[in-house]
Symmetry: C2
């Protein structure tokens, strides 16, 4: 087996993806890896041989602590999808030649379901050419839409961010005591886990959000307006959490009803934006009320100043568990989180074949919503609450959280 | 003089307006006020005699500490503007009758320049009818646009929030290493203090924002596009902070160039929104780059989870200073902050007649920008940096910041 290890980050960043990088790095070092390389911009950068030796960049415990507190992907990211190796082998030959040259024994990729597709293909090709490199997936996504794992690292911090800011938005929205409808747009293309997290705002000191609209539930614009009208008869300020991905029964996204141009990303996904704006405008036109829309936008995934310590700890653990497995000979698997109990909350790791994860999406079970699909039930809250517990205070320097930062590699 | 005091909150909420309420309440109590009343929804609520005795709501030190950590207006707010008493005396007669009935000696109003207009009118009318009630203004606004005060309570926390999230957005925007223009829309109708705070993101570990567009500087769409094009030749990811209030040379708001409907608030202000969206679309149409827009929206003024301890402390102090002045016989004045020195930062309070404040706006001096008006200078940073120093950690319960909360009074 090669003496060195390599690790990359892929897909959308999270607040805790660097904690997984820290877990991979420290575990590789403690298990005797000679050099731990980082891919710059994931597999796309690796194909251009843009790699860094991580040891000079992470020299002491302070660097590791900063890495755990630095949002977004320290190594940079990519949205590169590997071709099918049966039809296009050249890319694979190039990648494996680079890995051989770097004397790589273990390959770790931190990402979501698109990234697990990469691990699956590399492991399969590696087996086919009888390479002894081990390929392991480390889960990461704020979307919480990966199969087999109880939840994904990154979700807990995003859920905590959403719960906290919804509570603050509700506090803000009620001050005038006048009729006001606030529509808050939350990320989540097909799975409503993040939008569901708005339910966490409800607490002794907060009434919580008045309606939750998940992409799992077909959306009716007229029913929506009628529900708002009825709610506003009882209280003037209504706060609604709506997924960017809510769709009509005919499959069109609600945001497509607006007139804006929509782009398509590298994976062919439509850019979803404007759902809350559209709905706020529709409500204003149909009901006698002021409205506003708020898009939580990028801050959901990069708010390093407000993370869940539980999430950071687990993100670090899945990195370490991937290294343990790879050093023990495992390949083509992803580390998953397995919940042992809710009270007290206990969670461990296990391994699953990539084929159970790649390119699949886990949706929110509708049994975790009330009958008319406007609120989450206590079952969902029992699931989500443990994931947002405790904080990891940033290291503030001169009033700002300090980050660890790698200048872009040429 | 009446044995009791009354305090109200008015205008847009901030993260620290309740710290001023705490300062007024505790100082009134310690100076011997019998009852300290709170107006529910400011003067508008007072006219309906909706007042509460604050003592049963704030019973111990924990309540006061929670109040300092609770964003938005504990008492509720209003955007009610008093008529001119020369032409419409009825409202004044009603208000003074209510104040007499409540045996009020001192009246405190926490708000911005619109709210100071209320204090000015009440003090003037009071003098005219020889009332001995003292009327004092306590400054508050995230906009930092009040005259005579070095800065306003509320600005420091909003500026800290903006500095922190801009740093996180920059961290997020660079991960793919691809061409990307991020336009971030920040509050501030006519004064660019909040947008200028984006400059605080620049630090050892962050390159900072690439361009800052203040409403004080006439905006040219074509020049803007050209500047972005030139910047993007040197680095792929460009992050721009733009005020919601940027205007063309002919006085039209940039957001008016978009097609959306615009509402008007109770003070006749146009609702400004869509500036960043419009500019991101214009850049995408003219340059070969991906773009995105982010509106910081309400979170700028209600992020109680991320405040400046310096700001909280000063917000409390101006409340106390207003009480001291009123109990010593002063009326018709506003407490202002006066900076003694920058290094070490020292700040005290002083009094100014309301006429120097009400209905006026303080702009950002253009001498605090570079020559082409795209960046803030070191002079601005020396002014702003002390205001974002230190943190006041929320009291987290079950993963969420705990607030103190008054159920809406009927």
């Amino acid at each position: 087996m090669g003496k060195n290890a390599i690790v990359g980050q892929s897909g959308g960043p999270t607040s805790v993806i660097n904690a997984s990088l820290a877990g991979v790095f420290e575990s590789c070092k403690s298990r005797g890896a000679d050099i731990v390389y980082g891919m710059c911009n994931g597999v796309a950068g690796l194909l251009e041989e843009r790699v860094v030796d991580l040891s000079p960049l992470l020299t002491d415990d302070l660097d590791i602590e900063l890495l755990k507190r630095t949002p977004s992907s320290f190594l940079g990211s990519c949205r590169y999808k590997l071709p099918d190796w049966h039809t296009d082998e050249a890319v694979y030959k190039k990648l494996f030649a680079i890995l051989e040259k770097l004397d790589i024994g273990c390959f770790f990729y931190i990402g979501g379901n698109d990234s697990m597709d990469t691990i699956g293909k590399l492991a399969e090709y590696g087996e086919c050419i009888q390479s002894d490199i081990r390929f392991m997936g480390v889960p990461k996504t704020i979307d919480n839409d990966l199969m087999v794992t109880d939840h994904t690292p990154g979700y807990g911090s995003a859920a905590k961010y959403i719960g906290v800011v919804m509570k603050e938005i509700i506090r803000d929205a009620t001050v005038y005591g006048t009729k006001y409808v606030t529509v808050v747009e939350i990320m989540g293309r097909n799975a409503g886990w993040l939008t569901a997290a708005a339910a966490l705002a409800k607490s002794d000191d907060c009434e919580g959000v008045d309606m939750i609209c998940l992409p799992e539930v077909p959306f009716h614009v007229e029913h929506f307006i009628e529900k708002v009208r009825v709610m506003q008869e009882k209280k003037p300020s209504i706060v609604i959490a709506v997924s960017e991905g809510v769709k009509l029964e005919d499959g069109r996204y609600v945001c497509e009803l607006a007139d804006d141009v929509h782009a398509v990303d590298a994976f062919g996904h439509k850019a979803l934006t404007g759902t809350a704006r559209y709905l706020a405008n529709v409500v204003a036109r149909n009901l006698d009320t002021k409205t506003r829309c708020i898009e939580l936008s990028t801050l959901q995934r990069c708010a390093g100043h407000l993370t869940s310590r539980t999430d950071i700890t687990e993100a670090y653990q899945v990195g370490g568990a991937a290294v343990k497995a790879a050093f023990e000979g495992v390949t083509g698997q992803m580390v998953a989180l397995k919940r042992i109990s809710n009270s007290p909350y206990q969670c461990t790791t296990e391994l699953h074949p990539i084929s159970e994860v790649a390119n699949l999406e886990k949706k929110v079970p509708l049994s975790w919503m009330n009958e008319d699909h406007t609120q989450m039930t206590e079952d969902f809250l029992a699931y989500a609450r443990p994931l947002i517990q405790a904080e990891l205070t940033p290291l503030y320097i001169a009033g700002l959280p300090h980050h660890i930062y790698m200048k872009p590699q040429k």
